[in-house]
């Protein structure tokens, strides 16, 4: 087995994508199986602690919250809602990876469907509102108040 020599060094130093690319370039019969490759990915995932993914997701969610509170444009507010939904998707995928639970990734698809429906209806309502009042400023759209 040549796997202990140079390939081990490549496996340790380069990232797994480059290693996979090298393996597919060589394309010989004694290539490593997909399970070994997956174990390799899991080891690298463990080197990157999963708290970092949670930090990234949380930071993106807070950017979305900040945008919703800060901006006056209705389209920007919808875009910030999309950012928040993406953060939740990344959180679900991270937990699915961490606990090897395939249920979480199905919720990702449901969230994507709901997000697509929500943004299409929301943008349709915004365009209709612009035709009536010629503005998409959320401070002007307060007729339900009184």
């Amino acid at each position: 087995m040549q796997k202990d020599g140079l390939e081990a060094i490549i496996m340790e130093i380069c990232n797994p994508i480059i290693y996979h690319f090298l393996r597919s370039l060589k394309n010989n019969s004694q290539t490593i199986t997909i399970f070994e490759l997956q174990a390799l990915f899991l080891r690298h995932f463990k080197k990157m602690p999963s708290q970092y993914y949670l930090f990234l997701s949380l930071a993106l969610f807070c950017i979305g919250v900040m945008g919703v509170l800060m901006r006056r444009n209705a389209i920007i507010i919808l875009m910030c809602i999309e950012l928040m939904l993406n953060a939740v998707n990344l959180l679900l995928v991270t937990f699915s990876k961490m606990y090897n639970d395939p249920n979480a990734q199905l919720f990702v698809f449901f969230i994507m469907v709901v997000a697509a429906a929500e943004v299409s209806i929301g943008l349709a309502i915004i365009v209709m509102m612009y035709r009536k009042v010629h503005s998409i400023d959320v401070h002007i759209l307060n007729r339900l108040k009184n």
Binding site: L56, L60, R72, I76, L83, P102, A116, L123
Partner: protein, 172 residues
């Protein structure tokens, strides 16, 4: 630091940087383009986590669908080169402080909790497993939420047609 970490940090910087630019820029079209780059970075992160099908769906639905929809509605509602109005500075500072307080609060909880990853390799996230689980009717199947979501999509379709079909004589 090895190559894996460098790739993660690059993707995270792309996502967070373009997300931050999307919520702070004054021009609406540039905000949409920054949002596009943030979504592409998120798809790259899914590729990096080995969820290839979710990454593909992310590119198709978000980058190909929602961003194009947002750009269309920007063109329908915006004059060219028009700067947006901003809120008062006090409200902006309050929004930033509120978001940062929420961030710090959850951050403390994440740091204090130690997550223990499971060792065993269970189902791989392949398309076959996703399809079997999404349409399964036994325990662990998601056939009923799948149907409910399809009803929701039908309702959204009919709703957008109803909104778009309204003639100007009815609205005025």
């Amino acid at each position: 630091m090895n190559g894996a970490n460098i790739l993660f940090y690059l993707l995270a910087a792309m996502i967070l940087g373009s997300g931050l630019l999307a919520v702070t820029t004054r021009q609406l079209f540039r905000a949409a383009i920054y949002l596009l780059f943030s979504l592409i970075g998120m798809a790259g992160m899914y590729f990096w986590l080995q969820y290839e099908f979710i990454a593909a769906v992310q590119v198709v639905v978000y980058v190909g669908g929602i961003t194009v929809l947002i750009i269309f509605s920007i063109f329908l509602t915006q004059q060219a080169g028009e700067k947006m109005l901003v809120k008062k500075t006090g409200q902006q500072i309050f929004a930033a402080i509120a978001a940062f307080c929420g961030f710090a609060l959850v951050m403390v909880q994440i740091v204090q909790n130690n997550f223990t990853a499971t060792k065993n390799l269970s189902l791989s996230p392949s398309v076959t497993n996703i399809g079997n689980q999404m349409l399964g009717v036994d325990k662990g199947g998601y056939a009923l939420p799948f149907e409910v979501v399809s009803i929701l999509l039908l309702a959204a379709l009919i709703g957008s047609i109803v909104i778009a079909l309204r003639t100007p004589t009815q609205t005025s």
